[in-house]
């Protein structure tokens, strides 16, 4: 009997999920969009196709030709423009850097808003400049420090998308808990939906169990689609065991769904809830290294972030996905997330009000 109700609720829950475009977008499509967008824009593993805008005044020197060739060898195409054109494009604000040459003297203007991109251009330029100078004097090309690209676990190098993808997996379970669980709970209680259900023989645990199951299924679907986009578009693959990855993802989902119920228990109305949810979501997202590493942040902030549930979850997900770690390798992170889950689940059960 209860099992029959459970499956009816599960089916209804999944159907309802597909009927809310906002839920489908934020939980299923948003991670894929982020991966495609940020992975492409910030993906810099190959240097091909970079452009350097070069404004030349006065006469051309022999070094100019050597520099152009050396740049081309390093995958940077020179775009020679007139001083007026160069100035217009600089003013346009989209140029990360502008090279100005005059009688064999050079200077690079760097856009202070786009330092990150300009730095790559600068590195290529500096190297090409040394090569061009050496060649002009008939010397051999200067040696450079060899670079080995690798992910922190040392297993295999990957583009930015490989760093981002496990981060988005973690962000996804945070979002499904805080936005897609808590708000439903608050709205239903405020509308009297729980009261209505309480007058029927539907057991509470069957209802909540189905709600949990719906979300775990949605999380797995979202994760599978994200992995598919990573593999097809960026050629990045899970280096670890898929079952381990799924288990950790489900643990993370359980953690943040519990968090959603805890937060919901402090709000009487959906309006209040959305304030509480955003105040929780934003710091967790920003402090936990979803999009970038926090290595440059102040030490105390990193220590604080390490205590939050999302940071260790991301560490474990990246360990499995990028470095092929097994669960025992990541036991400390798993233990922290599990402890959070146990605490939040206990608190959610205590504070949950059916009527």
């Amino acid at each position: 009997m209860n099992l029959r109700i459970f499956f009816a609720q599960l089916k209804m829950g999944l159907i309802l999920y597909t009927r809310v475009p906002a839920a489908v977008f934020w939980i299923i499509a948003f991670p894929m969009v982020m991966l495609l967008g940020l992975g492409t824009v910030l993906g810099d593993s190959d240097t091909g196709g970079r452009k350097l805008v070069w404004v030349q005044s006065g006469s051309r020197s022999p070094v100019d030709a050597a520099l152009t060739r050396a740049l081309a060898e390093r995958g940077t195409v020179v775009d020679s423009v007139s001083p007026t054109d160069g100035e217009a494009r600089w003013k346009g604000g989209k140029l990360p850097a502008l090279l100005e040459g005059s009688d064999g003297h050079y200077s690079l203007r760097v856009n202070s808003y786009l330092v990150g991109q300009a730095m790559q251009t600068e590195a290529a330029l500096q190297e090409a400049f040394l090569v061009a100078q050496a060649r002009a004097q008939g010397l051999a090309d200067p040696a450079r420090v060899p670079v080995v690209m690798s992910s922190p676990g040392g297993h295999r190098g990957g583009p930015y998308a490989a760093f981002l993808l496990p981060g988005l997996l973690g962000l996804n379970v945070l979002m499904i808990g805080v936005f897609s669980t808590g708000i439903v709970d608050v709205t239903l209680r405020a509308k009297g939906g729980y009261k209505r259900l309480a007058t029927t023989p539907l057991p509470r645990f069957v209802y909540l169990g189905a709600q949990l199951a719906v979300r775990l299924i949605v999380v797995l679907i979202a994760a599978a689609l994200l992995l598919l986009v990573g593999a097809v578009v960026f050629g990045i693959h899970n280096q670890g065991n898929y079952l381990n990855l799924a288990l950790v993802q489900l643990l993370g989902a359980a953690c943040f769904i519990s968090l959603g119920y805890v937060l919901a228990s402090f709000a009487q109305t959906p309006e209040v809830y959305s304030g509480i949810a955003n105040l929780t979501f934003l710091p967790l997202m920003l402090l936990s290294g979803v999009y970038f590493s926090l290595d440059d942040a102040p030490n105390w902030l990193q220590r604080l972030a390490d205590l939050l549930p999302l940071t260790p979850l991301l560490r474990v997900l990246r360990g499995i996905f990028n470095d092929g770690a097994g669960l025992p390798d990541e036991w400390s992170g798993i233990a922290i997330v599990a402890a959070w889950t146990a605490a939040l689940f206990a608190l959610a059960s205590r504070r949950f009000k059916w009527v």
């Binding site: 109700i5 609720q9 209804m12 309802l16 939906g193 007058t199 029927t200 023989p201």
Partner: protein, 307 residues
């Protein structure tokens, strides 16, 4: 406590913080009757209903529903009662048929959605989202959900509030049908005419207590002043003070209409006409009507129902 009561409640009390919502309420509802709980907002109707529905635990008092006690037979009671709320508590994107199927799945035995759709005249809305229904259709769906388990006892909380007259007639029709099928109905309302038309018995509630109980006819007949004279003016009404003083009766002046309760219709009407003549009131019309439950409430509490 006998089994012939659908509802038996004795000495119910419930306070929320320092507000006494229900203070010592006794109620017996006979199986098969339509019982109306009347009262203004804040009279304690909803709290009473929620205690009877097992949603709110009374501070003290005894409740038996179909002879069973909520404290040990809650699940058995729930399978045999149906509850309709005022507000719509369903997910916006649930379709009508799905809602009926889903609620049906909670019970060991449920009525077929098609049958309920026919009863509620919602056949052509079966595949519509709950969100897209009109107020009347939504109310009928809520009623359908309350009937999905073929309940012996149905609770209806203000089933016609906010409905247009035609939709209200439709709902009355369904309530009459529930009665003809032998079900017991407990409804709350603050429409007196609704109670007079639908209910076998009514209980008039105010400030957490039932002030009077009986058939609508009994309650009206029991009034000290069973008839009401209404004097109607056009344009503007004169000052009511001198008239009331001369007549020696309390008069309820509402805009252009003065309502005068009559204890002895013949004698009181004569003195009324003499006063009108003496003061030369610019009266347009004079009606005499039978008192209604509205007047019962007014005379019991000194307040109008829709204050």
């Amino acid at each position: 406590m006998t089994d012939s009561w659908a509802i038996e409640a004795v000495g119910l009390r419930k306070s929320f913080r320092d507000v006494q919502a229900v203070r010592g309420l006794d109620l017996q509802v006979v199986r098969g009757e339509v019982f109306g709980l009347l009262g203004p907002n804040g009279a304690g109707k909803t709290t009473t209903l929620e205690m009877l529905e097992g949603l709110v635990r009374p501070d003290s008092g005894e409740i038996r529903i179909l002879g069973l006690d909520w404290r040990d037979r809650g699940s058995a009671i729930r399978t045999r009662i149906g509850v309709q709320f005022q507000s719509t508590e369903l997910d916006d994107k649930v379709k009508v048929r799905e809602a009926l199927e889903m609620f049906g799945s909670f019970y060991p035995r449920a009525r077929a959605p098609a049958e309920l759709l026919r009863l509620l005249h919602l056949e052509d809305k079966a595949e519509a989202y709950q969100l897209r229904l009109s107020g009347g259709q939504r109310q009928r769906l809520a009623l359908g959900l309350a009937l999905v388990n073929d309940p012996e006892l149905v609770f209806l909380d203000e089933p016609t509030t906010g409905l247009d007259p035609q939709a209200r007639q439709g709902l009355w029709e369904i309530v009459r049908q529930l009665k003809s099928e032998g079900r017991t109905v407990l409804l709350t309302t603050h429409y007196m005419e609704e109670a007079e038309v639908l209910c076998d018995r009514v209980g008039i509630m105010d400030r957490g207590q039932i002030l009077q109980l009986g058939t609508p006819r009994e309650l009206i007949a029991g009034l000290q002043q069973p008839s009401i004279a209404e004097i109607e003016f056009v344009g503007s009404a004169p000052d009511v003070g001198p008239f009331a003083a001369r007549l020696g009766k309390p008069i309820e002046a509402k805009g252009l209409v003065w309502a005068v309760p009559l204890a002895d219709a013949k004698r009181d009407l004569q003195s009324l006409l003499i006063c009108i003549e003496a003061l030369n009131l610019p009266m347009q019309q004079l009606h005499v009507r039978r008192a209604s439950l509205e007047d019962v409430f007014l005379q019991l509490t000194g307040r109008s129902l829709r204050d």
